[in-house]
């Protein structure tokens, strides 16, 4: 039987959940044996296979129009979608921006900040995405597995991926929800 295909990506997070994944250290070789790792931010395959993957893992919440596209695409191409980390599960620290308007946040960064010179303006080139309200992943697409933590620890991530690799839905509870 072919190995399950796994694809990951990151959105409005900090890459910390992917670093915690790498913190499984040499156990990554075991995961590489159990699954076929497809597109991830650190491999050169850029999108989850159009023909579909078995497991999609997304880190980060949604805070702009690019993230919305990433979330929808991953949901449509995977059978089981995992929200990895507090940003994906709840919105996380970046969701603190929701207490302010997007306009205020952009103004502070690109016009008002003390080190910004007279060229200050809010970037608006069509090549760039637009910021949106910050949302957790499940507010945008249905999610199958939630793995909270900021980040979740490497043992939990290893457990989640091993279970999924062997066709089981992981039961994330008790010490798997440990902050440390």
């Amino acid at each position: 039987m072919a190995k399950p295909k796994v694809s990951t990506d990151w959105m409005a997070g900090c890459a910390g959940c992917h670093m915690s994944l790498l913190d499984m250290d040499e156990r990554i070789a075991k995961i590489a044996e159990l699954v076929d790792l497809r597109s991830t931010p650190i491999t050169d395959l850029k999108v989850p296979d159009e023909s579909g993957v078995d497991v999609g893992v997304l880190e980060g919440g949604i805070n702009n129009t690019s993230n919305e596209e990433v979330a929808h695409r991953m949901r449509s191409r995977c059978k089981i979608l995992v929200a990895l980390g507090d940003c994906a599960v709840f919105g996380g620290v970046p969701a603190m921006r929701n207490f302010f308007t997007i306009e205020e946040s952009l103004r502070r960064a690109y016009i008002e900040s003390e080190s910004t010179d007279d060229s200050g303006k809010i970037p608006s080139d069509p090549e760039l995405c637009k910021p949106t309200k910050v949302r957790a992943l499940h507010e945008v697409v249905p999610v199958d597995v939630f793995v909270p933590g900021c980040p979740p620890n490497a043992d939990t991530i290893f457990y989640v991926l091993s279970e999924l690799a062997q066709g089981r839905i992981p039961d994330v509870k008790d010490d798997k929800l440990s902050w440390y």
Binding site: A15, G16, M19, V70, M96, S115, E127, L128
Partner: protein
């Protein structure tokens, strides 16, 4: 032929979210290439109203690869704002955590992010041109690389309780002393780590000697160079003065980093969420400078640890004692810094104060502002807080490491596109070289824009009427 636009989206094997557009003129030659950093989160706004002692725990969420840099810079800004300089043992302990981070971050970058290009080749099949491909091609080297990163991460965990987003530094000091057992545990991994770093240096030197043509034509830029130094222009990563030199090696400035606003400013372009820092006296873009390993090794004259200092001497010979401007030598410089950081861990652990319990200064002499500056793996990191009497944050200004390199990365992308894309045939390997120009800087785009993201890879070539001429897909 009509003018065209090529888009590379996303750039992979970097931290963060970037896209490149390459504009071709009617003759099919590259007119200009742009690096669009495509995310924004807004830490400088949403931290308003928080307490100054929360900042060392909020700001690391800017980045999961270098959270320790933010954690420490934030605590230093707190030290400054509260008038509470940490006792010497606390400063040593913070520096120890910082060295752990330099080792893990630089190590991961060389072996796992940049490594696939150097070890498997720029033109290798994208399906295997990654860390998993390396694992299959050279499992022994991959294990060594994993252990190198692990050693750095374990130093962070031992001191701060966890590897990513630890809790350790507070305004005035740190919250935990080091035990003798922990010290010995860290030291036990030292020899293997030194061996792995030396293997990395040998790999890079070998690659450089076999690829001299690339080294000498791939984005060899002129710019200033910027980084912290200690007296004698000694390389410094935790605390020192900022030194800025020009492209010939002449010193332009040396200043207390807390006065950064007198010397540098940030320029904004419409087409990127990342701003462009520059030296005010020369204006933009004449005043651009590079930071991170290449910036720091150029701005330094010596390194305080012996093995790394020997490597620095060799590095200085590359351009006859003048600053080294070759973008690909970022990889060489990064490994030399990794060696320094590892040697420095041992030096710190041998310091008699490292096991002291005197780790917190509780005196308070508050000021309305505090600035904390540190050399993160990718460059000079500045945290500036305006703090009310009650300890609440009024305003925040951050200039984050990779940001200083924005001009250089964009220029490198433009340079490499123009050097390597010369005909109508545009292969995936050529586009990978454009990405490699960015990767050499080891950018942390989450950090620099205080944001992150990713998107699918489609290269579209459109004519001036926006009709699709050719489409390349990488998936």
């Amino acid at each position: 032929m009509v003018a065209q636009k090529i888009t590379i989206e996303p750039v992979t094997r970097i931290e963060g979210h970037a896209k490149v557009t390459i504009r071709l003129n009617e003759a099919g030659k590259v007119d200009h290439a742009y690096l669009h950093v495509n995310e924004f989160r807004g830490f400088e706004k949403f931290c308003e109203g928080r307490m100054v002692f929360e900042m060392p725990l909020i700001t690391p969420r800017i980045c999961g690869i270098c959270p320790v840099s933010h954690h420490l810079a934030s605590a230093k800004a707190g030290d400054d704002a509260l008038g509470a300089p940490p006792p010497r043992p606390a400063a040593l302990l913070r520096e120890l955590m910082h060295m752990g981070q330099i080792v893990q971050s630089h190590g991961m970058h060389f072996f796992e992010l940049a490594g696939p290009d150097l070890l498997l080749g720029f033109d290798a099949d994208p399906a295997i041109r990654n860390a998993v491909g390396l694992l299959q091609a050279n499992p022994e080297l991959t294990v060594q690389a994993v252990n190198l990163r692990k050693w750095g991460q374990e130093i962070i965990r031992i001191l701060g309780g966890r590897r990513v987003h630890p809790s350790f530094a507070v305004p005035g000091g740190v919250n935990k002393a080091l035990t003798k057992e922990e010290r010995d545990l860290i030291l036990s991994g030292y020899d293997e780590v030194i061996a792995t770093i030396k293997t990395g240096i040998a790999i890079m030197n070998d690659w450089a000697s076999r690829n001299m043509e690339d080294i000498n034509k791939f984005a060899v830029l002129e710019s200033g160079y910027f980084g912290l130094v200690k007296p004698g222009n000694t390389l410094e990563l935790y605390d020192g003065d900022i030194r800025l030199i020009d492209s010939t090696g002449k010193e332009l400035e040396k200043f207390d980093p807390r006065n950064y606003l007198d010397y540098i400013a940030e320029h904004v372009e419409d087409w990127s969420y990342l701003k462009f820092p520059y030296y005010k006296k020369l204006g933009y873009p004449q005043g651009v400078y590079r930071v991170g390993p290449l910036g720091r090794l150029n701005a330094s004259d010596q390194i305080s640890t012996p093995m790394a200092n020997e490597e620095l001497k060799k590095f200085k010979l590359i351009n006859g004692g003048k600053p080294v401007g070759n973008t690909l030598h970022y990889h060489t410089a990064r490994l030399i810094e990794t060696l320094y950081a590892a040697e420095n861990v041992k030096a710190l652990l041998d310091d008699p104060d490292i096991l002291s319990k005197e780790i917190l200064n509780t005196c308070r002499n508050p000021k309305p502002q505090g600035v904390g500056v540190i050399e993160a793996p990718r460059g000079t990191l500045i945290h500036h807080y305006w703090v009310k009497d009650n300890g609440q944050i009024e305003k925040v200004n951050l200039i984050v490491s990779t940001g200083h390199n924005n001009w250089a990365m964009s220029e490198a992308v433009d340079n490499v596109a123009k050097t390597y894309i010369t005909g109508p045939e545009i292969s995936e390997g050529l586009l990978n070289r454009v990405e490699a120009a960015i990767r050499a800087h080891d950018p942390c785009l989450s950090c620099s824009t205080h944001a992150v993201g990713q998107m699918p890879m489609v290269i579209e070539i459109r004519d001036v009427e926006d009709q699709l001429v050719q489409s390349l897909r990488r998936d």
